[in-house]
């Protein structure tokens, strides 16, 4: 077993292939994370401000998230007019998933900002947009990061499905392993997916700590 693994990894070209696929996987999983967050924040902001939009947007988000990813990957080229094998399909689909997953945490996080803090900001002379960026959004970061962490793990695992359509990423290691009944690529794929998820999660936790020095001040009184 270990012999198989070391023989598999012993080849220079295989290692190069694995690295390429890791890089592509990162791109497939994390680009949508950024796009999804960028979509979810304004959508959550709208939903939080208008009661009617809240119900409809959260409803749509729920439905979107239940569409199977494979179906999505197949339908998207038809909608946005791309080639069926283009990586952009996966990126678009995962962006939509991420946004759908994050709208609710954004709304919840904004709901959790204390009313008297918002009223104070208004009374100080903040206009709504600046108040959102300078007061509400920073205060939403802890709840928002929790949502982003879930979305990042979900994206990293979902991006593997792209391999079924012949789009690269670490999922390609699974498909090739299954096709040839050869275990090593599958093991390497699993380990790398898990490691990637872990690293990204740590980065997100670090990012949250960096953005919320105030949240740790509580115990220091």
């Amino acid at each position: 077993m270990l012999d198989d693994l070391s023989r598999y990894l012993g080849s220079e070209s295989t290692r190069q292939l694995i690295v390429d696929q890791l890089v592509q996987h990162v791109e497939l999983a994390l680009l949508p994370l950024v796009v999804g967050v960028a979509l979810a924040i304004p959508l959550g902001w709208l939903a939080q401000r208008h009661p009617l939009l809240r119900t409809s947007l959260l409803g749509v988000a729920n439905v979107v998230y239940t569409v199977p990813s494979l179906a999505f990957f197949v339908v998207i080229p038809g909608v946005i007019g791309t080639q069926i094998l283009a990586p952009v399909n996966v990126i678009a689909a995962l962006s939509v998933y991420t946004a759908a997953l994050l709208v609710r945490p954004v709304v919840d996080a904004l709901d959790a900002v204390p009313g008297h803090v918002i009223a104070a900001a208004t009374a100080m002379g903040y206009r709504p947009l600046r108040r959102f960026l300078a007061v509400e959004l920073p205060l939403a970061v802890p709840v928002l990061t929790a949502g982003v962490r879930v979305a990042s793990v979900s994206n990293i695992s979902l991006a593997s499905v792209g391999a079924l359509l012949g789009i690269g990423g670490l999922g390609a290691l699974f498909t090739s392993g299954f096709q040839t009944s050869y275990l090593p690529p599958i093991i390497v794929g699993i380990v790398l997916v898990l490691a990637l998820a872990l690293v990204v999660d740590l980065v997100l936790v670090g990012l949250r700590r960096l953005l919320t020095p105030w949240a740790r001040a509580g115990g220091a009184r």
Binding site: H116, A119, M124, G125, Y126, P138, W214, A217, R221
Partner: protein, 371 residues
């Protein structure tokens, strides 16, 4: 000056929060809006900086209709202190205070320098500036709230139940602090509270509101306590309003009497009156305590047998202090001191009550004459 002209606020659900309010707040004074919850006092306050828009009527600040001013611009020129302070949890104390100057386009450096000045003004140590609000006590947070409202030196300050979330002792300290600041800064302040004690303490003028947003009485605190306009006001100001009112009756009619005194340094050899309490004074004539009549030789009792005195009454201040002094003194005599804290005599509770009675008769005669 702030003027409400026939201002009505009707919410979408039909409730009338403020009903045809006509009122003017004089420049450089503290005016208190007081009343039970749902009386429209906060709504009235928030219409001044357009956080709430009136359904009809006009509000003028220094003669300018607020509706003609851009809301954000208007608010940067009006200080606002909110319940529970409403500090930004994600910003340091210093940056919280610097909020309005930064919004108005000051450089960060200048805004922070100004913020540091304000922390000092409200009596907070400079090192608190680097902390986050959650690391401060409730009272400190409120002071930061006041500092933040004053940062851009606005002529008008709106205070919405600013001290209601802190405990009574801290609240009293904050009220004193506000009065001290006001003596220095001379702002036009509108202060909202549901606490009548707070209203008569900080207010130079008090507007009493009742449910449905109606203004029922607008008067000085003394007038309010002495002559409530109707049953609502009299029940709102409470049963003990007579005692409360003593805070506003000056003590001019009090004649302090001489009592036996002795020096702290001469306690051992002092002559003690056989049937009267002897007041012990220090080198500078400041009262130190009372020696009971016919007490044994001072050396025999620890501490020389001196009982700690009660509160002191400074001559010329309101009668409430005189009554407190008399009631809290072990001898039954309230010690009267001059402005420098030197002994000037003593008064009994009976004498204070007699003075109050004389005042009431004079006031009654005055009111009768006017009617």
């Amino acid at each position: 000056m702030i003027e409400f002209r026939a201002v009505t606020k009707r919410f979408d659900d039909g409730t009338v929060a403020v009903d045809n309010l006509d009122l003017s707040v004089a420049a450089g004074t503290i005016t208190v809006f007081v009343g039970p919850s749902g009386c429209g006092k906060t709504t009235s306050l928030r219409m001044v900086n357009r956080m709430v828009e009136p359904s009809s009527g006009t509000i003028l600040v220094d003669g300018v209709d607020v509706r003609g001013v851009n809301p954000a611009q208007l608010r940067r020129g009006i200080g606002y202190v909110i319940q529970q302070a409403g500090l930004f949890p994600h910003r340091t104390v210093l940056d919280n205070v610097a909020t309005v100057p930064l919004l108005s386009g000051w450089t960060r450096r200048r805004a922070r320098a100004r913020a540091a000045e304000l922390l000092e003004l409200v009596g907070l140590p400079a090192e608190l500036g680097a902390r986050y609000p959650v690391q401060l006590s409730g009272g400190q947070q409120q002071r930061v709230g006041v500092a933040r409202a004053l940062a851009a030196d606005p002529p008008v300050l709106l205070m919405d139940e600013p001290f209601s979330a802190v405990d009574p002792v801290v609240r009293e300290g904050l009220q004193d602090e506000l009065l001290r600041l006001q003596a220095e800064l001379d702002k036009t302040i509108v202060f909202v509270t549901h606490d009548i004690d707070e209203a008569v303490k900080v207010g130079e003028r008090v507007a009493v509101f009742r449910q449905g947003g109606r203004l029922v009485q607008y008067a000085g605190p003394d007038e309010l306590l002495a002559r409530p306009a109707d049953d609502f006001v009299s029940s709102f100001v409470g049963r003990d309003r007579g005692y409360r009112r003593l805070s506003f009756v000056d003590g001019g009619g009090i004649e302090p009497a001489e009592v036996p005194t002795t020096r702290e340094t001469a306690l051992a050899t002092a002559e003690r009156a056989p049937d009267a309490w002897t007041l012990v004074l220090d080198e500078e004539d400041r009262p130190r305590g009372w020696l009971p009549p016919r007490s044994g030789p001072a050396e025999e009792a620890p501490g020389g047998g001196v009982r700690p005195g009660g509160s002191l009454y400074t001559r010329g201040t309101p009668l409430r202090g005189a009554l407190d002094a008399a009631l809290s003194s072990p001898s039954g005599l309230g010690v009267v001191v001059d402005e420098d804290g030197r002994y000037a005599g003593a008064v009994s509770a009976e004498e204070v009550l007699a003075a109050i009675r004389r005042r009431r008769d004079e006031a009654g005669a005055g009111a009768g004459g006017a009617a």
